[in-house]
């Protein structure tokens, strides 16, 4: 796989990921991950200190599906949506799993129309070609801030 092709495939993965969340097709979101995977939402401060506890921690695709099931069936929060703006991936290593880092912004729009720059950060990814489909073996969402407004319901 050439560098340009890898870059393009990663960029396509990221935009598909973002579009799935932003268009509320959350049930499809776990499919972006391998069955055994790591999905973690942390902050730059916790990441730098090596503190492992995230506000979200999943080590299986099934746990991601559970999170969506909980959001749909159990959790109470006001209607809101995200708009992800995802940067161009920096490919750090492509010898085995693709190791990449990608900046992102999320604008959150609440039911009453209020819009906030909700999160800025970087995805630290390990991506594997799973039978011709790129999936995340690991996606660590490193938020620049450790402060979160009200709640983080929808995946980042």
């Amino acid at each position: 796989m050439g560098d340009a092709e890898t870059l393009l495939r990663l960029a396509a993965l990221n935009t598909a990921y973002a579009r799935t969340i932003d268009t509320d097709r959350l049930e499809e979101w776990p499919d972006f991950f391998l069955e055994r995977c790591i999905y973690r939402v942390t902050s730059a401060e916790n990441h730098r200190r090596g503190q492992a506890a995230g506000i979200v921690y999943a080590d299986s695709r099934a746990m991601l599906a559970d999170r969506i099931a909980a959001l749909r069936n159990a959790n109470i929060f006001e209607r809101q949506c995200y708009r992800h703006i995802v940067g161009m991936p920096s490919i750090l290593d492509a010898a085995g799993d693709i190791v990449a880092e990608t900046s992102f912004l999320v604008v959150r729009t609440l039911r009453d129309g209020r819009m906030d720059l909700f999160v800025a950060g970087a995805y630290l990814d390990r991506v594997r070609d799973d039978g011709g489909v790129l999936r995340f073996a690991e996606r660590v969402v490193v938020c620049d801030s450790s402060r979160f407004d009200t709640l983080v319901a929808i995946p980042l």
Partner: protein, 418 residues
Amino acid sequence: MPDDAAALSFHPDPSPAWPEGLTRVPYWVYQDPAVLRAEQARVFEGPVWNYLCLESEIPNPGDWRATHLGLMPVVTVRTEDGGIAAFENRCAHRGSLICLDDAGSGAKDFTCVYHAWRYDLCGNLKSVAFRHGVNGKGGMPKDFRVEGRGPRKLRVTTICGIVFGTMSDDTPDIETFLGPEVIGRLHRVAGNRRLEVIGRYTEVLPNNWKLYAENVRDTYHASLLHMFFATFKITRLSQPGGVMVSPNGGSHVSATYAPTETVDRAYDGMRSVDDGFKLADPSLLDTVDENGDGIRQQLLTVFPNFVIQQTHNAIAVRQFLPRGTSETDLNWIYLGYADDTPEMRTRRLKQLNLVGPAGFVSMEDGCIGGFVERGAAAASDETAILEMGGTGTETQDTRTTEAAVRGFWKLWRGMVGH
């Protein structure tokens, strides 16, 4: 009569009387900026124990951590002799913050960046830059003394590796402040093993801090608002449990035991029930009974604004600090024990999905206070009702009660003067 009594009773005109007893709370108490000012003086700087940090965060001399007493910035420091000192994070000269970061280690002293006034680890002023002037000109008056100058100091106590501080000489020792029931349960979660911070997040709540103080003491709402709890039988009011309230009313501990009934009918027909809902990855709730007592969840408060919780194997401290009448910083400090096995640590990381800003169980608490703020926006003179479980503040063997919420108001009113 206190100087600001008139300001306290600002709303409406003429001033309202607080209804008799502990079963009503007027909404102006969450809305009035004068109340927040009074709370700063009489609650946060009053006869209470404020959470400062964990001992394990400042193990060596010169290690320090910054936090707040209400609105007041404070620094907590491990001193040269191994003791712990705490002082207001405010330079005695012009009021600038002395420490700018959240934490540091190995400090020999603290120097204000503004004019380089320098303090020792206990917050005593040691030197003043250009005190004797430059080239014989300027400088402080000859009779200026550094002795006795410095930011205000706190009295510090530690219990179970947790450091608390107070500004008041009248604060009783923490054992008396909390009483034997709460102390016993504090030992249960924090007294036997060394706590270690494994993550730290802040949730910005769109509400007055007291709405959160009530929420954490409100054992009635847990399985009604938090549907995840009920659905997965983490806690239901029909599970055994109860609430203990400290003698002064202000602090509490609630416990929920593992369910005993296989079929639960108490919630039939209510929103928060879906017995068919199963986890695809049940390892989330794979729980080890670390204390051998069957307590699935323990929530413990220390008045005014500290919580330590155990939910299955997730352990966390919550500290909530006012940032204004209708904004509160909820600081989540995720914990493990220093001697955790790797397997137990991973279990804690997974179960911490239950708590925090994205927590399956906690996320609703982030927004519910805002719903009250918005619902009661024009209802300053109306009151909330607190009659569940009677009118008192006594320990009860049920969680279908608002006893601990009434207890909070009992102590708060005694301090603030209503």
